[in-house]
């Protein structure tokens, strides 16, 4: 192996996060019992969440150094949780009834194509340096600074005279980078960290298939997952925001989408609520918009559980226990972020928090609102990014509209709509001229919201597929 090759630390980092996540899964039977590859996707998300939150808390609150020893302690400590005795043996999901030949062919083709696309992205990520804009501007640079100072309470963030863009941006993904680099004493070679982001594409596709196949048929779920893999902006572009970059939109989409869909599962167990809370806590610690998005997920989750309890005449308080646990874990992450943020003077940032307090938010947003739809549609129809995807989606959804009228679809429509409201407000009060911020960010916002949207696509396709069956 070539000296200084990025491959060993990159693969080693991926393995350690998967092992840590597998350890954490011991406490979440609903996820622990899923089929292997899907289980690994949940392990990846929970592993990154758990390691990131643990290191953030240890560094900020306990002043533990961000070094190899701390990284290994957290990785191994979480991985060893796997061996904590269980009260009941794992009850792995038994294979569903054998699928029809057509379904098996579609599943095989979709899996093969998605695997090839993910393999290509991983190969690119381990052989090519970072080309994107926002990663080096914010998270990647911050990762180098906190790594050098061995602390999330780095002086370069806390002292106002240093030229740091968005110094209050949450640190989960920089910590993911630092944990890998410190565990393997790797250099600052960006080919070590890019694969960590590329793995989020695999997690995205597997989690999407997992949650979609529980709401639509396997064939429809496979087709929806394949369409996600074929969207260039998500799966292949190395510059402007997908899994080929070190932007945090795909990780945010994974954490938020997975956490939200978990909260909607029927028969939601308290332990699953905790898992959802960890994922929503990771959402809060990934990007600034993560906090309102987590609140939206929890709010809709509460409404769904109360509605279900009312329909089945069940005690409402008991029905809300998993949501309460999810809320507690998410709130703990939020408090950690606020505690850390307080010490950092904001600068070189749009500072939406101050604007929300001082600016006439409603008036400004309504004044600019008429300009948004055209700018958004222009972003959605950029051929290099979406390859016509958004021209086809309305037709798919309308022709499968029976799916959208089902009770299960309403939360999946409501959550992205509410999140869109958050973005509209940001677009309304921004200091950027005209619709420039929409042009630069809307496609990435769509990535953040995309898991629920792709599940809706699966449900609509399922209606069409069933209609075509003899």
């Amino acid at each position: 192996m070539n000296a200084g090759s990025p491959l060993p630390p990159a693969l080693g980092g991926i393995a350690l996060f998967l092992l840590a996540g597998s350890g954490v899964l011991r406490f979440f039977p609903a996820l622990r019992e899923r089929p292997f590859f899907r289980r690994m996707a949940w392990a990846w998300l929970l592993g990154v969440a758990a390691v990131g939150i643990a290191l953030f808390g240890a560094s900020h609150l306990l002043h533990a150094p961000l070094d190899g020893r701390s990284a290994w302690a957290v990785f191994l400590g979480l991985a060893l949780l796997r061996f904590v005795p269980q009260r009941t043996a794992a009850n792995f999901e038994s294979p569903r009834s054998r699928a029809a030949l057509a379904t098996r062919i579609v599943l095989l083709v979709a899996a093969a194509l998605a695997t090839l696309i993910v393999a290509g992205l991983l190969s690119n990520s381990v052989s090519e340096a970072v080309r994107d804009h926002d990663g080096p501007m914010t998270w990647d640079a911050t990762a180098r600074w906190i790594r050098a100072e061995k602390s999330v309470n780095a002086a370069v963030l806390r002292e106002p005279h240093w030229y740091v863009s968005h110094p209050q941006y949450p640190l989960l993904l920089p910590l993911m980078q630092v944990a890998t680099q410190e565990a393997f004493a790797a250099s600052d070679d960006t080919r070590v960290i890019r694969p960590l982001y590329a793995v989020f594409l695999a997690a995205f596709l597997l989690v999407l298939y997992d949650v979609a196949s529980r709401r639509a048929g396997r064939m429809a779920a496979a087709l929806a997952t394949l369409s996600a893999a074929l969207v260039p902006f998500l799966s292949s572009n190395p510059k402007y925001g997908g899994a080929g970059t070190t932007y945090s939109d795909v990780p945010l989409g994974c954490f938020w989408g997975a956490g939200f869909l978990l909260l909607l599962e029927p028969g939601l167990r308290p332990s699953t609520g905790v898992a959802a809370g960890m994922l929503l806590g990771a959402t809060v610690l990934t990007k600034s918009e993560g906090a309102p998005f987590a609140l939206i997920a929890l709010g809709i989750g509460v409404a769904v559980r109360l509605h279900r309890a009312h329909r089945r005449a069940l005690p409402k308080a008991r029905a809300l226990v998993p949501l309460a646990l999810a809320g507690l874990v998410t709130a703990a992450s939020f408090l950690l972020l606020v505690s850390w943020n307080r010490e950092i003077p904001n600068r070189f940032d749009e500072d939406y928090v101050t604007k929300l307090r001082t600016a006439p938010v409603v008036a400004m947003t309504l004044a600019r609102l008429p300009e948004f739809p055209k700018a958004m549609w222009n972003s959605m129809t950029e051929e290099w990014a979406w390859a016509g995807f958004w021209w086809c989606v309305p037709i798919i959804l309308l022709t499968g509209a029976r799916a959208l009228s089902r009770r299960a679809a309403w939360p999946l429509l409501l959550a992205p709509a509410a999140a869109l409201g958050v973005f509209m407000i940001a677009y309304g009060i921004t200091g950027w001229p005209g619709t420039e911020l929409v042009r630069v960010t809307f496609s990435r916002f769509l990535l953040q919201m995309s898991i629920p949207l792709f599940v809706l696509i699966a449900m609509s396709l399922d209606v069409s597929i069933r209609e075509m069956r003899p």
Binding site: N124, P136, A141, I396
Partner: protein
């Protein structure tokens, strides 16, 4: 029974409704195909090319990989700056090509700590304890340039 009632409840209506649903279903699947089918070949081709390129570039060092992105002139300039400014030192960063150029230079020099220097007032001198070096952030042309702080202030302030 009224004639209209017979028409609405007869098997003909069911056939028409069924045919309508089938057309809609076909439309939905066709829309999916219109997006997905043309994307398969380019997506697979790109994946194969990327995997091949990964083997070809497999032996490159970190600097060689970065040179592929930034270019040789930039990398030669960057190496000189990295050798001059220690990793734990501070420096002034001047975004002479705008912020778009400052960000990659700042990142490539991290963990060195930058202080933004946008203008030098006439007759001003660097403060005691100021960083020793100024980096002019350029991504194009001659790449980033390093200048001693005193020299830069002398040049810019006309003193």
């Amino acid at each position: 029974m009224r004639i209209g009632a017979r028409r609405r409840s007869g098997p003909g209506w069911k056939r028409i409704a069924g045919a309508g649903r089938a057309v809609l279903a076909l439309g939905g699947l066709a829309a999916y195909g219109v997006f997905a089918v043309p994307r398969v070949a380019p997506a697979c081709g790109e994946a194969i090319v990327r995997t091949r390129d990964a083997f070809w570039h497999g032996g490159e060092s970190a600097d060689e990989a970065l040179e592929e992105v930034r270019g040789k002139i930039y990398m030669d300039a960057l190496k000189k700056i990295r050798q001059t400014i220690p990793p734990d030192a501070a420096y002034y960063l001047v975004p002479i090509e705008g912020e778009g150029a400052a960000f990659p230079v700042r990142f490539d020099l991290a963990p060195r700590r930058p202080i933004l220097l946008q203008e030098v007032r006439p007759g001003s001198l660097p403060l005691p304890g100021a960083p020793r070096w100024v980096v002019l952030a350029r991504v194009f042309g001659a790449g980033p340039e390093i200048v001693e702080t005193r020299e830069y202030f002398r040049r810019e302030s006309g003193s």
